[in-house]
């Protein structure tokens, strides 16, 4: 019978905290860039100008279909040579997950925009609004509200996907855990504790999100103008 002993974990908890912070940092960065980029991609894809719509469509499909780890390796190993720049794990991770998440967010935006009934477009047109005005004032506010569950789901998914950065030595939680496991020769306790930490954070976030969604639903059409 294996004797479980979590002392190692408790003694080195500060390392794991740093790792968790690293995870949050890269997730936050990817969200900060990914959301606006996703909106840009979605609007481009919906545009009537083919020269905008087609490349946007390609970027979205390419980054949704190829595995994130392949993208990460490409940006970490290939890009610095191609563009003759200094590459750090954080930079590669930030670029990869900003673009990767933007592709998924673009689809969420697009679905939301398209789901708004035609009558709203017509009413906006009829009072003399131009297309960009109508998008900004009438369509997007309604679309975003509708798509909040999908956005939060995608964001939580993003947090899980960022564990890949451990493979390029970015100091996220998994990386720290791996280092600790190697040093301490107690991989069972370390990885079990790490899994539990991830579980608590991610499950906790989903519960929060569900609670917020329920609250939004109850208060009805309470969007701020």
């Amino acid at each position: 019978m294996y004797e479980w002993d979590f002392t190692v974990v408790f003694e080195n908890s500060d390392l794991l905290w740093q790792g968790l912070w690293g995870t949050l940092a890269i997730t936050g960065t990817a969200l900060a860039f990914g959301l606006p980029l996703g909106l840009t991609l979605a609007l481009s894809r919906l545009s009537t100008r083919k020269w905008l719509a087609w490349p946007a469509g390609f970027v979205i499909e390419f980054f949704r279909t190829t595995p994130p780890l392949v993208q990460l390796f490409w940006f970490f190993f290939a890009l610095p040579i191609l563009m003759d720049i200094q590459m750090t794990p954080f930079l590669a991770a930030a670029i990869t997950f900003s673009i990767q998440s933007s592709a998924f967010f673009a689809e969420v935006f697009r679905a939301g925009i398209v789901s708004i009934e035609r009558g709203q477009w017509e009413a906006a047109c009829a009072i003399g609004m131009e297309r960009p005005q109508a998008m900004r004032r009438i369509i997007l506010p309604q679309a975003v509200k509708r798509m909040i569950p999908a956005f939060t789901e995608r964001s939580i998914e993003l947090m899980k996907t960022t564990t890949l950065v451990a493979t390029v030595s970015y100091a996220d939680l998994l990386y720290q855990a791996n280092e600790l496991a190697q040093k301490s020769f107690r991989p069972i306790e370390v990885f079990t504790a790490t899994a539990l930490i991830y579980f608590v954070v991610i499950f906790g976030l989903s519960l929060c999100v569900q609670a917020v969604e329920r609250k939004l639903a109850i208060s009805g059409d309470s969007t701020v103008r």
């Binding site: 490409w74 290939a78 069972i188 990885f191 991830y198 991610i202």
Partner: protein, 221 residues
């Protein structure tokens, strides 16, 4: 300074890439079959009337959906071998992680599909004297599967992409081979571009097919 692309250096090592592709397909097949089957079983358990089935199923689903799959793979590769009485290869560890993860997601797809079937179908089955198990197998599941097809296909695509994570524990999948080639030839650009394009070429037709499938199902309903 213009970079000079040289795909020849990758072409030279195509045998290694081919091995990688075979390995990718191997782990994909294992995880797809095992993941979906296990997912079905757990999905049914989640929906069961018996509490002793429902609760463990729910816990399993929440645990494996709310932890990252790479963490699961690392756990099975580094932690599990000490607890287990047998050798765990990279293939086994990665397959375990991906399979259990996919089972948890598939279980939710199955549960969703089954729950959206009109309760009237259950009543009709009971009215002619069928047992729960028979109703599920002969009436409910055949209808539910049709509805779940897009979500299941998406899950399959996700599984295929997840196989690249096995390279992190040195399983010789196509990404691992590409990394090897890149380190030997100093041509990461060509090596990884080839792998990215390969995945795109393989997966995109299937992605498009699911769009068509979804549209057709939406019309049918």
């Amino acid at each position: 300074m213009e970079y000079v692309w040289d795909f020849g250096s990758v072409w030279e090592y195509r045998a290694a890439l081919w091995v990688g592709l075979i390995n990718t397909l191997r782990i994909f097949a294992i995880c797809l079959v095992a993941g979906l089957s296990l997912g079905l079983a757990i999905g049914l358990a989640r929906y069961s009337v018996r509490r002793w089935l429902r609760w463990p199923a729910a816990c399993f689903i929440e645990l494996f959906r709310n932890t990252p799959v790479l963490v699961q793979i690392f756990w099975f590769y580094f932690a599990f071998p000490i607890l287990a009485p047998f050798e765990i290869s990279a293939l086994m560890a990665a397959a375990l992680g991906i399979t259990l993860n996919s089972a948890a997601f598939s279980a939710e797809i199955f549960r969703g599909g089954i729950q959206t079937i009109d309760p009237g179908q259950w009543e009709a089955g009971r009215a002619i004297g069928m047992r729960h198990r028979e109703i599920m197998a002969r009436i409910i599941l055949p209808q539910a599967v049709r509805r779940m097809l897009p979500a299941l296909t998406n899950r399959g695509i996700e599984i295929f992409k997840m196989t690249t994570l096995a390279s992190a524990i040195a399983y010789a999948d196509v990404l691992h081979q590409a990394r090897l080639i890149a380190s030997v030839n100093f041509n990461p650009i060509e090596a990884y571009t080839v792998v990215a394009i390969a995945f795109f070429v393989i997966l995109y037709p299937i992605v498009r097919a699911t769009y068509v499938l979804e549209r057709r199902l939406a019309k049918g309903d």
